[in-house]
């Protein structure tokens, strides 16, 4: 199941607050959760099925004109 909007928003604002506390002048946080399913047929036969479940955070921070970006799925 895809996590609800509220949970994702909370995680994003936690990251932004934390970056600010550490001295960032600006920051953006991207929190995503996606679930996808793909099925491939080849020569009229089932060949491959794939399910993907991905929760991720990307945090970009600026101090003045300096920029740094990290991402994690842990």
């Amino acid at each position: 199941m895809v996590k609800d909007q509220n949970h994702l928003e909370k995680t994003a604002s936690f990251c932004l607050d934390f970056a600010k506390k550490l001295g960032a002048t600006d920051s953006t946080a991207l929190v995503t959760h996606s679930v996808s399913e793909t099925v491939n047929f080849r020569n009229k036969k089932l060949d491959e099925s794939e399910r993907s479940d991905n929760l991720g955070i990307t945090l970009t921070t600026y101090i003045g004109k300096k920029k740094s970006s990290i991402s994690s799925s842990n």
């Binding site: 099925s49 399910r51 970006s69 842990n74």
Partner: protein, 470 residues
């Protein structure tokens, strides 16, 4: 070693039970766990332009029966998530029945040390070094317009758990250091790029000022190109230099020798096993067992130890590169070539270090034998249709050959052809085999994996050169 079960409600025992239950009616499959950390720092225009760090943890559960692969991956290692994956696999394969193949060869060998390139040196020391690289390269003269230098490091821990509880693990370090220099002289601008890398400690690349050699080489390539003239066009003899130009063999020939394209009969080589596909004297191997090399793996991503696979021996097609699925369907064994970019990707048969072995001729002999042709020393980008082997490569360093002598550097030369035909046009194989500096990434089906290439100088009798000289 990473403990994948320390921070989750999923115990190793639970995971083993789910794996065995899901896979017991399948031909093959495993749970693949991965924890990778990567870092990259770029210096450009006299300042640190960007630094990035990425950490990724997740699993991929795979079940294979017959030709069908069911795969489910997630970056949440938990009881719930693994169960969902197992249900997904079971419902895909519910009408299929297989017999699980427990056989997997073992190895005690380690081809690289357990080094963490990200932690072994502080971020500050890397930043300082990039600044030193910038100063050193810019000090080469007023013609230096721009210097871009970068470090990239990766540390990947994997664990494979098979049905029955068999566990296979590997820890893979990877480093890449790159320098690009732009020069300007008399209104003409040229760029030179050079890089090194492999599965070793940062110190190996940076000791004894090894990094200076990278800067020198990037500067040299740009300087050569400043003096270059327009490339000739048409069909002519081409001498390929040793080392990195083997990327042409990788792209134009190597992909065609991968098991999946041959099982599906889409490769130009699929019905040529045991037949002559190249000139006498051409021997091509794919070797995953070279210590510390970029394309080397102690075990592949299915747990099979890698090996040196002879693909073409003296011009005769001997073997394809196989993962477990294609090997089973083609009634042969895996060559330890099953690789995936990450836990988010299915296993495919892939190359490791693809090499043309030495012949007996010297590079001088080859050049002497050419009346009119080109000597291609290094390639940049290119395009290739990996099943037919049709390619276009851009030379980043090349020279004309006139009457057996190397002439002026040429700019904008492209090499056009197709792998299977080129193999038959190789007339002389050199005795100066060289490995590439450790920079290659191979793309297939949207997955990028690190690879190596190697070759001696070779003379190709007939190749289309795309140039701009009229």
């Amino acid at each position: 070693m990473n403990d994948f079960f320390s921070k989750t409600d999923l115990s190793r025992k639970d995971a083993e039970a789910v794996i065995s239950e899901t896979l017991n009616k399948c031909d093959d499959g495993e749970l693949y766990l991965e924890n990778s950390k990567s870092e990259s720092i770029v210096l450009d225009d006299n300042k640190i332009k960007s630094s990035s760090y990425s950490s990724d943890l997740g699993y991929g559960l795979r079940a294979v029966t017959g030709e069908v692969v069911a795969y489910s991956h997630s970056n949440e290692i938990s009881k719930n998530s693994l169960k969902q994956s197992a249900n997904n696999l079971s419902s895909t394969l519910k009408s299929k029945k297989g017999i699980y193949n427990h056989e997997i060869p073992k190895t005690n060998e380690k081809l690289y040390k357990d080094i963490n390139p990200i932690e072994e040196k502080s971020l500050n020391s890397k930043l300082e070094l990039l600044k030193e690289v910038n100063n050193y390269t810019r000090a080469k003269g007023g013609i230096v317009q721009q210097v871009t230098a970068s470090f990239a490091g990766e540390h990947k821990s994997i664990e494979i758990i098979r049905a029955g509880g068999e566990v296979l693990t590997d820890v893979r370090p990877l480093i890449r250091f790159n320098v690009s220099v732009m020069l300007e002289k008399n209104g003409k601008k040229e760029t030179g790029v050079y890089g090194i890398g492999g599965r070793q400690s940062y110190d190996e690349y940076l000791k004894d000022d090894n990094w200076k050699k990278v800067c020198d080489e990037a500067f040299r390539i740009a300087s050569v190109n400043l003096e270059s003239k327009a490339a000739p066009a048409g069909e002519m003899k081409v001498v390929l230099g040793p080392g990195w130009p083997a990327i042409l063999i990788h792209e134009a020939i190597g992909h065609g020798l991968e098991g999946d394209f041959n099982r599906k009969k889409t490769s130009a080589f699929h019905n040529l096993m045991g037949q002559r596909v190249a000139s006498e004297g051409v021997t091509i191997v794919d070797d995953g067992t070279l210590h510390n090399r970029r394309g080397s793996l102690t075990i592949d991503d299915e747990g099979t130890p890698t090996e040196k696979t002879v693909l073409i021996e003296n011009g005769i097609l001997k073997n394809f590169m196989q993962d477990r699925l294609n090997a089973r369907l083609m009634s042969t064994r895996s060559t330890g070539s099953g690789r995936r970019e990450s836990y988010k990707h299915v296993v495919l048969p892939r190359m490791r270090n693809t090499m043309m072995l030495n012949g007996k001729y010297s590079q001088e002999e080859m050049i002497k034998s050419v009346d009119k042709g080109i000597f291609a020393v290094s390639f940049g980008g290119g395009q290739v249709d990996i099943t037919s082997g049709k390619f276009v490569f851009n030379c980043t360093e090349a020279y004309e050959i006139i009457n057996g002598k190397i002439g002026s550097p040429i700019k904008g030369a492209t090499l056009i052809g197709d792998g299977p035909s080129i193999l038959k046009e190789v007339s002389l194989v050199g005795n100066n085999m060289m490995l590439d500096p450790g920079i290659g990434t191979c793309g297939k089906a949207g997955q990028g994996v690190p690879v190596g290439v190697a070759q001696p100088s070779i003379l190709i009798d007939k190749m289309t050169v795309g140039g701009t000289q009229l």
